[in-house]
């Protein structure tokens, strides 16, 4: 099973202001792409355009040859992980996972997930009494409870320590091996592998 995401001449306008223009790249199964750029250069915006949240763009986004503008259904194969951690603070880790399962309509194996993420010991702890890095790690569970084909990760390394970065590295590799595509953004040098990268330049400097 092989997938391909191809972007041609992408341009995005927010609040009447052009954020980026003429973005072109293509990523295939088993590849990871890094989006680099300064603060405010449009990394998050780019990922949110790809995920279909921002509709005010021109250019083409082709997934396996089909334009996502014409077939929204394709986007259900995408998974976006941003700064909002998708966690309910007053519920336990396990309860949060249970809620995601209902959204993605899967019955997952909590044991396996917690083994992969190394969160066995905090499964019953309320999110509110976890550290920032722990919260971020839990939010990764949303990636692995159901298999989407394209992962869009907006600054996934924030708050993670080196061990957890390695852990994420493994998760990404596993995902890519099974035909997945990963795109992640970062604004500093980081030690997470990637096969290709694009640099967002400050089209309009702020």
């Amino acid at each position: 099973m092989s997938n391909k995401l191809e972007i041609n001449g992408l341009e995005c306008i927010r609040d009447n202001r052009p954020i980026f223009k003429d973005i072109n790249f293509s990523v295939k199964s088993n590849q990871t792409m890094l989006v680099r750029g300064k603060n405010g250069s449009g990394k998050t915006s780019l990922l949110r355009v790809l995920a279909g949240y921002i509709k005010n763009y021109s250019g083409n986004i082709l997934f396996n040859g089909n334009n996502i503008k014409n077939d929204k259904e394709l986007l259900s194969e995408f998974r976006f992980l941003g700064q909002k951690n998708t966690l309910k603070g007053n519920l336990s880790v396990q309860q949060n996972i249970a809620l995601w399962e209902l959204i993605y309509q899967v019955k997952s194996d909590t044991n396996e997930i917690s083994k992969i993420l190394n969160i066995e010991q905090i499964l019953n702890v309320d999110i509110n009494s976890l550290s920032d890095g722990q919260k971020k790690r839990i939010s990764l569970a949303r990636l692995i409870i159901s298999n989407a084909k394209v992962w869009l990760l907006d600054e996934p390394l924030v708050y993670l320590d080196q061990d957890k970065i390695d852990l994420l590295q493994n998760i990404i590799l596993r995902h890519n091996k099974s035909g997945g595509i990963t795109i992640y953004s970062s604004n500093t040098d980081i030690n997470l592998e990637y096969d290709s990268s694009i640099i967002m330049d400050d089209y309009v400097v702020l």
Binding site: D15, N16, R17, V204
Partner: protein, 233 residues
């Protein structure tokens, strides 16, 4: 076109403002002189009817302002030019103030003439609703975070609220209410004595200039705000 407009327009507005300031002042002085000294008391109501000179123009212009607001909203739907939003945004607070004046002076006038400050009849209630329409319109811009949505919702609100205007206007004819039916603004000859009509008309003109002056000030600030938000981008 819109992006160029503000620059020249702001300057023009700035130049004309003093003229409107002074005209407003002058017409108000003359109008008030007539209203307070140079007009006869009513033979039934006595001096309390002098409230009319404050009440009636305010009531008229509160309806007028809303009409402008609603028409701007409709125009926005048709042309999608943000300048119509600026019109509507600038007129809303002024209209709201006129509505309050009409409500308050009406109540004050109601006590001696109807024996009650307020009644839940059609004219009065619909007038109160007008006030809320203004408030809701203004709040919409502030409360809705997404400006695209705010533009749509406020325009829809302004347009739908337009229904209220004929209701206010004709409520006295459609339902029997305490309120005076149209005596001056009838299409046929006005049934009011000329000695009262003169100060009323003068006051109306004064109010009108006040409205224009306030509108220009508000419009100018709105334009400047738009300009700032364009510069920073």
């Amino acid at each position: 076109m819109f992006y160029k407009l503000p620059n020249t327009l702001i300057d023009t507005l700035r130049n004309w403002l003093p003229v409107f300031y002074s005209t407003t002042l002058v017409t108000f002085s003359i109008g008030l002189y007539y209203a307070i000294y140079n007009s006869p008391p009513d033979y039934i109501q006595g001096d309390s009817m002098r409230i009319m000179y404050v009440h009636v123009p305010a009531a008229w212009l509160s309806l007028g302002s809303y009409s402008i607001l609603a028409i701007s909203c409709i125009a926005w739907f048709v042309f999608r030019n943000p300048i119509f939003n600026l019109f509507a945004k600038s007129i809303a607070p002024i209209g709201a103030v006129f509505t309050i004046i009409a409500l308050v002076t009406g109540s004050i006038w109601g006590k001696p003439t109807w024996g009650t400050w307020w009644a839940w009849d059609a004219r009065l209630t619909s007038m109160l609703i007008l006030f809320f329409l203004y408030i809701a319109y203004m709040m919409t811009w502030q409360v809705i975070v997404n400006k695209e949505l705010a533009a749509k919702i406020s325009a829809a609100l302004g347009t739908i609220g337009f229904i209220n205007i004929p209701i206010i206007k004709f409520s006295v004819d459609w339902w029997n209410t305490l309120h005076q039916p149209a005596t001056i603004s009838k299409l046929s000859a006005p049934s009011i004595h000329i000695s009262m009509l003169t100060p009323l008309m003068l006051m109306t003109i004064a109010y009108l200039f006040l409205l224009i002056t306030l509108f220009l000030i508000r419009y100018k600030t709105e334009l400047v705000e738009v300009k700032i938000s364009r510069i920073k981008h």
